[in-house]
Structure formats: structure tokens, C-alpha cells
């Protein structure tokens, strides 16, 4: 049974690696893909979302790979929301700030320098997306041991 768990873990690690390369290729050749799908005239906002979503998934897979490599011993599979909130709230906030006008509401009477400073900090969306992805991926806990039932029938 332990061998089966090792096999399952190994398969998941390989699958994550392959997915990482596929998503990375999609990200690396995104401009070429855009040229190919230009005839469909998709909105720019949607394409930008797709781009950063690919980076997010890439980060998620890297985080998931880290968790699989760690061989954590957990009694059941779950999603650790605490870790996600602590590690991922900064990039999530930065993404929200970079794509909304929320900052203008928070900063009273912003000068040109202040706007520039905020813009440079929050505009690194690719970095924020990958950080958020890794935070999400490393919050996944998978139990590979056999499921134990709470109730057991006895003669």
C-alpha cells in the first residue's frame, strides 16, 4: 500500500512538472498566441486576464510541487486557508490595487510623484500573480494514506 502512495506522489510530481512546462510555454509564447487568435477580436481586458491567470496557475503548480516534495504527513486532505491568507494577502491586495482605481480613493489628493510611486510598485502584476499562485499551491494538503472510517461494523 505504501508503494502505491509513493507511486501516486511520483505521478503527481511528474504531472506537475509537465504542466509547469506547458503553462510556461503558453506564457513565453503568449505574444505569438495573441497573433494567432487576433482574428477572433477578443477584448484586451480578457486577454490580460488570461495572461496573468496562466502565471497564477504556473505559480500554483510550483507551490503544489513544493508541497509534494515535502512529504507532509496529514491525516486528511484539506486546503490550509490560514497559510493562504498569511502568504497571499499582499499579492492579492497588490493585484486589486493595480487593476482598480481603489488607490485613488484611499490616497487624498495624489500628486504626480505619489501616483508614479504607487504605479511602479503595484504594476508588477506578473510577480504578484506568481506569488499568489505559489501561496495557493502551497496551501494544498494531500493525504496519501488509506482512508480510515469513523464508524466500524463489528460482529
Amino acid at each position: 500500500m505504501a508503494e502505491d502512495h509513493g507511486k501516486m506522489r511520483f505521478i503527481l510530481i511528474i504531472a506537475s512538472f509537465i504542466n509547469i512546462f506547458l503553462y510556461y510555454s503558453a506564457y513565453a509564447y503568449f505574444d505569438n498566441i495573441l497573433i494567432a487568435i487576433a482574428r477572433y477580436e477578443l477584448p484586451i481586458g480578457f486577454l490580460t486576464f488570461i495572461k496573468y491567470f496562466i502565471i497564477f496557475v504556473l505559480g500554483f503548480l510550483i507551490g503544489f510541487l513544493i508541497i509534494l516534495a515535502m512529504r507532509l504527513k496529514v491525516s486528511m486532505s484539506y486546503f490550509d486557508l490560514k497559510v493562504l491568507l498569511l502568504v497571499g494577502f499582499v499579492p492579492a491586495l497588490a493585484i486589486i490595487f493595480s487593476y482598480t482605481n481603489l488607490l485613488n480613493l484611499l490616497v487624498d489628493n495624489p500628486g504626480e510623484t505619489t501616483v508614479d510611486l504607487y504605479y511602479y510598485f503595484f504594476s508588477r502584476t506578473d510577480i504578484w500573480s506568481i506569488w499568489l499562485g505559489v501561496a495557493t499551491g502551497s496551501s494544498v494538503r494531500i493525504c496519501f494514506s488509506r482512508r480510515r472510517y469513523k464508524h466500524q461494523a463489528m460482529d
Binding site: A69, F121, D126, V134
Partner: protein
């Protein structure tokens, strides 16, 4: 101690991100001629690796996997960090050009393909930084000595030798 380290890592990650975000501004303050472009590029990557190391360390500290002793997991680093490290070395261009010219006969399409594939240095450096950060294992338990000295009055000194029980 754990919470203190989490806070320190978090602050450091934000500081390194600030440096990365304003890197061009900082370089223009120093003067672009003072530092060679190669060093500038290296520093940019190093800052990004340091930022992602702090994030990786932070998530590792939050996980608290219950280590017996503090160590650096080389196996984990090799498994997770080998690929980004190789791509990071190949990304500057000279090595890629050499591969393209020697193996693929210097074809333009292959060169472009390799360039696009390897040029995302930010991604590779972040992945590599995470791999290093998550390979750190820190034990927060009190250290137990392998050998302890026990002495009772009227008896001989007994030196107890045993395994670390933690």
C-alpha cells in the same frame, strides 16, 4: 521565535519587492555608467531570488513540519531548483546562441524559439528562490544534549549516553 521569524521574512520580502519595483530608479540614482549592465542584471535577479526566498521561508515557517533538527534539505532543492537554475544560466544569451549555432545550425526560427523560451528570467529566479526558501528546515524545540551527567550523593558519577529522544 517562529512568529518573529515569520514577521522578519515578511518585512524582508516586502523590502526586496520594493527594491525590485524601483530598481530602474535606484540604478539611475547610482548612475548607469557606474555599474556594468551585466552586474545590473545580476543584481536584479539576486534581489528577486532574495524576495522569493523570504516568501518560501515564510510559507515553510507557517507549515511548521516538526523537525528534529535544523538543516538544509539538499534533496528538496535539487528536485525543485535544478530546472530553474539551469534555465537561469542558459537565459543570458551567449550560451543559448552557442547551442543554437552548434546543434541547430544557427537557424533563425530556432534561435527565436530558444530566446522566447529562456528569456523570462524573472520567473526562473522566483522559482529558484522559492526552491531555496522551502528547502530550509528549522527546528524550534529546545536542544537536548546527547550526553548528560547524573550525580547522586554517595554514588559514583554515572555518565548517561543515549539517543536524542525528540
Amino acid at each position: 521565535m517562529r512568529i518573529f521569524l515569520i514577521i522578519v521574512s515578511f518585512i524582508n520580502a516586502l523590502l526586496y519587492m520594493l527594491i525590485y519595483a524601483y530598481y530602474d530608479t535606484i540604478i539611475s540614482f547610482i548612475g548607469t555608467t557606474a555599474v556594468s549592465p551585466l552586474i545590473q542584471n545580476f543584481l536584479k535577479i539576486a534581489v528577486l531570488i532574495a524576495a522569493s526566498f523570504c516568501i518560501g521561508l515564510m510559507s515553510m515557517l507557517l507549515l511548521a513540519p516538526g523537525m528534529r533538527r535544523s538543516r538544509f534539505d539538499i534533496k528538496n532543492l535539487l528536485l525543485l531548483g535544478l530546472v530553474p537554475f539551469i534555465f537561469l544560466i542558459l537565459s543570458p544569451g551567449a550560451v543559448t546562441d552557442l547551442i543554437a549555432s552548434r546543434i541547430f545550425g544557427n537557424r533563425e526560427s530556432i534561435r527565436e524559439l530558444l530566446f522566447y523560451l529562456l528569456s523570462r528570467q524573472a520567473l526562473w529566479s522566483i522559482w529558484f528562490g522559492f526552491a531555496i526558501g522551502t528547502s530550509v528546515r528549522i527546528c524550534f524545540r529546545r536542544r537536548r544534549n546527547k550526553h548528560s551527567l547524573s550525580h547522586t550523593p554517595g554514588e559514583k558519577e554515572i555518565v548517561k549516553t543515549g539517543q536524542d529522544e525528540s
